[in-house]
């Protein structure tokens, strides 16, 4: 069965902290994604990776960076967390190419205080 695993479901961090959100997929997918979900705004793409060490900015990359050192793992980094980054973060993966089903993890709820 398809599996995208996000390491932490709930996190509370302080303003200014460096935050790592980890995601692992076991399907040998080339593409991996980080989305942010906020009420009334839907899902917005933060970053996208189509191969190891390759990344593309999404629609809201400011304040975030990513790392993909291994095919199965895609990390989202908040260099200096701020309260406006309090949100639900969703990791996803898919096979290379358009039209392929994107599989989502269960999400990480991040609260920045």
């Amino acid at each position: 069965d398809v599996k995208v695993t996000q390491s932490s479901r709930y996190l509370v961090k302080r303003t200014g902290e460096k935050v790592f959100l980890e995601c692992v997929q076991d399907m040998d997918h080339e593409n991996m994604f980080w989305y942010r979900q906020d009420p009334g705004l839907g899902l917005r793409l933060i970053y996208f990776s189509y191969d190891v060490k390759m990344k593309e900015k999404g629609d809201i990359p400011e304040g975030y960076s990513v790392s993909r050192e291994k095919k199965e793992r895609f990390s989202l980094i908040l260099e200096s967390a701020s309260t406006n980054q309090t949100s639900m973060y969703l990791c996803a993966s898919s096979l290379r190419g358009s039209g392929n089903t994107i599989y989502f993890g269960e999400g990480s709820w991040l609260t920045v205080v």
Partner: protein, 116 residues
Amino acid sequence: AQSVTQLDSQVPVFEEAPVELRCNYSSSVSVYLFWYVQYPNQGLQLLLKYLSGSTLVKGINGFEAEFNKSQTSFHLRKPSVHISDTAEYFCAVSDLSRQAGTALIFGKGTTLSVSS
């Protein structure tokens, strides 16, 4: 750039009634279209997708959607809903003109509330 509009933020219906969740996208260029469902405290799950071929697409849990190119719409329908269909539904489009074309652009979501 592509955008997706879900015309209703909330849709309340009674059990066994039919439902339609509306979705429009902005561009007439080639796109792939998707509907995802999110149950409380869970990630998103694919309901159905349109890539090409028949404009009527059938998905899981009795849902179907119709692609209408002239109206740039992809509305989701179910003839008879159950309490368990209560969830948030997202329409999404794959913008093939983008570098990150395999990434999906999502609408803001429609909350379907089914009551008895």
